[in-house]
Amino acid sequence: MSAVVRVVLPAHLKNLARVQGEVRLRLDGSGAGADGGADGAVTRAALLDALESAYPVLRGTIRDHGTGRRRAFVRFYACEQDLSNEPADAPLPAAVAAGSEPFLIVGAMAGG
């Protein structure tokens, strides 16, 4: 499997990673582990692994060091779905895996 996925970062993380616009990541390989689910599908874990590998400065800003848990005020969306509470190893929508829809990382609305 080889896929190019599109990721939209929130403004603060764009600045931190020094990127503009969307990030495009190539996810290579198949099978369980760092880059795919058990059936080779593109998963959130694989996507975030690839993102942090390409931009190490983002480690710890989206998910916690060690536990890998989503930070409380970070949300994930794609294809008009809130994927924030989906398992990290669940397949992402096919349109995300195919690169036709972006995966959105969003800072939750909080505070005033």
């Binding site: 929130p10 603060h12 931190l16 400065v57 930070r71 409380a72």
Partner: protein
């Protein structure tokens, strides 16, 4: 030519203020890391152009930034602060056990000898050290795993390790202060620790007469020429120790209120100290809307209000614990930042004041570098 560099961490970014030795005209650069809380920035005494900054938001967590050119450019370094042993529990506000959990870095203290060495005080309280310029951070576990640790409780601002003092005269001696556990001393480079809180009181809130821990210490300062003397602004009470923290005596004296957050020591006069009295624990602004620094020239007890150039009506700002610092020019300069976004400076040891910048976001910390 002598220059002064003021590092101001704010609720929405970092600002760097620079001036020549006259301290009359200031250039302001920033915001650096716009939109992020900068709890603390501090330069290395061994290499003043090496600056460490603690950058945090509730959304995206903790980053540590490092500059090697005096703040002109920055690079993010390591941000993994993982407790080195099973975190265990401390007490929550309601007295129930609560697991230790990393939240943010409150204070960064670079070594005086090696710019790659620095210490970080974090919430929930623990002490970390880097020896590679911030790339990796390792916990000094002896503090968090002290026998008293399971009984520590947070102050209102969290269970933060906010003060780190490296003793310049006694090799291996260092102090930390934690809200609301108290003050601790190590004599072996941070390997082992003991509470040094005898003489502190928190009347009405503690069941024991002389508990080992349980004190809401707000800030501690030392003059390097007299390292056995420590000055403390506690939640209430201004305190002093002359035996390296083993015993403390109250020096609040004639202050209008002894509640406050920062305490500062004159660069050349070890008995000249500064506090900013705040009305009370429930009213975090100056009494009567008058912003006044109080100075004692005799190590406490007797205090004089310093008002010239500070607002004396309708002023309801606060000054946080790490938001006061001094320069080391011959005529010592004193600096502090407010929650109203002003950084005030005095170039004459506090006699007169002027804002060197105003309308910044709320100021969380102020550190001053004297550059030659």
């Amino acid at each position: 030519m002598t220059r002064i560099r003021v590092l101001a961490g704010t609720r929405k970014g970092a600002f760097i203020l620079t001036s020549d030795g006259s301290r009359t005209k200031w250039d302001v650069s920033g915001p650096h890391f716009a939109g992020w809380e900068i709890y603390h920035m501090k330069g290395s005494p061994a290499d003043p152009d090496r600056i460490y900054a603690s950058q945090n938001t509730g959304w995206f967590g903790q980053l540590i930034q490092r500059s090697d050119d005096g703040g002109a450019t920055w690079q993010a370094v390591g941000n993994e602060f993982t407790y080195a042993t099973e975190p265990g529990t401390h007490l929550w506000y309601d007295g129930t056990p609560r697991p230790w959990e990393f939240k943010r870095v409150w204070h960064l203290e670079p070594s005086s000898a090696d710019p790659d060495v620095a210490y970080a005080g974090i919430e929930d309280a623990a002490l970390f050290k880097t020896a590679d310029g911030g790339a990796t951070w390792t916990e000094l576990t002896g503090l968090r795993t002290h026998d008293s640790g399971p009984g520590w409780q947070p102050g209102a601002g969290g269970m933060c390790l906010h003060t780190i003092i490296l003793d310049p005269a006694h090799a291996g001696r260092m102090y930390v202060a934690i809200s609301a556990a108290g003050t601790f001393r190590s004599d072996d480079h941070g390997e082992t620790w003991r509470p040094v809180n005898r003489g502190l009181h928190s009347e009405g809130t503690l069941p024991e007469d002389e508990p080992e821990v349980g004190f809401c210490v707000h800030h501690v300062e030392m003059h390097p020429a007299r390292p056995d003397t420590l000055f403390m602004q506690k939640h209430w009470d201004v305190m002093r120790s002359d035996d390296a923290g083993q015993t403390w005596q109250e020096i609040s004296g004639d202050l209008p209120t002894d509640f406050g957050f920062p305490i500062g020591v004159h660069a050349h006069e070890p008995d000249t100290i500064y506090v900013v009295p705040i009305t009370s624990d429930s009213l975090h602004y100056p009494p009567d809307g008058q912003l006044r620094v109080y100075r004692s020239r005799c190590g406490g007890h007797e205090w004089e209000p310093l008002t010239r150039g500070l607002p004396q009506e309708n002023c309801y700002v606060n000054v946080y614990r790490d938001a006061m610092s001094v320069d080391s020019l011959e005529e010592c300069g004193i600096y502090f930042g407010t929650t109203g976004g002003q950084v005030y400076a005095s170039a004459d040891a506090g006699d007169t004041w002027a804002p060197i910048v105003r309308d910044l976001p709320a100021v969380l910390s102020v550190e001053v570098q004297t550059l030659s």
